[in-house]
Symmetry: C2
Subunit: 187 residues, 2 copies
């Protein structure tokens, strides 16, 4: 769980007691390519950490899949809306690659919040990060041109470019696959 602790240490210093407690709560889960971590209509009960592999989130709109995010090694993954509210999710989470995830349940996390102030901090900072990411996605879809969206993706997520089918990337950027191909051809 070295990677998980490194990611948490970027948020706050965890002492040995908290680390041991966490190690006892975290489960390892394996997902094959195309396996679903979450299906829409269910509330998600777990927060995941991607030890290795790659996930996507998508929802259905007008009969089409719309990709909402990608999540890879070193990142936390859940349907944040469903996880916080414990309401049914409108999004699906699916493995794009064979993936190893660490998971903690909603209830165990609430208990950590109650017991360890360091976890309150982690919870606050993670939620803040996810808030900013969600709003940056709104900004991307509201204000950026297709070219800007692609260039920003290249800048921020270059490591993903050869791991994601072009159809998924176009959907994530909110543009057609033809537009994406045209932008890529020009570069």
């Amino acid at each position: 769980m070295q990677n998980l602790f490194e990611s948490l240490n970027k948020l706050t210093i965890l002492d040995q007691e908290v680390k041991i407690k966490l190690e006892n709560l975290v489960k390892v889960e394996q997902f094959e390519k195309d396996d679903f971590v979450l299906k829409e209509g269910s509330a998600i009960r777990k927060l995941y950490f991607v030890e290795n592999g790659l996930l996507r989130s998508f929802f259905h709109k007008d009969g089409k899949e719309v990709v909402k995010w990608f999540c890879y090694e070193g990142q936390f993954a859940t349907s944040m809306y469903s996880f916080i509210s414990q309401k049914p999710s409108y999004e699906n989470i699916q493995a794009i690659e064979k993936s190893t995830l660490f998971s903690i349940t909603f209830q165990d996390l609430q208990n950590l919040y109650e017991t360890y102030p360091a976890f309150e901090r982690i919870g606050r900072l993670l939620t803040e990060q996810y808030y900013v990411m969600l709003e940056e996605r709104i900004i991307l879809l509201q204000f950026q041109t297709a070219k800007e969206r692609y260039e920003n993706f290249l800048r921020d997520e270059k490591c993903l470019i050869n791991r994601i089918p072009l159809g998924y990337l176009a959907s994530y950027l909110g543009i057609t696959q033809e537009t994406l191909s045209r932008i890529r051809a020009k570069k």
Copy 2:
């Protein structure tokens, strides 16, 4: 500051020391109708609590104003994206009515987080609430019909219906004023 403490007490119990510390940090600010609390392009440095009055947030898209949220007595207001990231805001915050706000600066809030675990909890829970509201707005705009949007607004925010110009409400619901008038006439 009775209302502020009541709102905070819904999130966690604050002891007397924390309340006194908070009282010393909070400033009272008065805004006349149409005054701006925040103009787009600036980073927002404060978190506000609406003691009384009514605010709206809006941004410009294709030369038009788009209303993003309303905020009234007992609620916390800021441009959450700009406040967390301390990046320039793309939204404006404006008083719709003469308003009395309590404010705390970003830096003072960070100091409270550092010093009092109870504030970490408040910060986490408030950010979670704002995350859920932001995503519910995305769901509203992506999946609900004009009629559903209006009916949900009536259900959740009935107290606002006579305090908001129809043009602002239509913009908030992502529909034209004609469509809004038609839906209201049918009811």
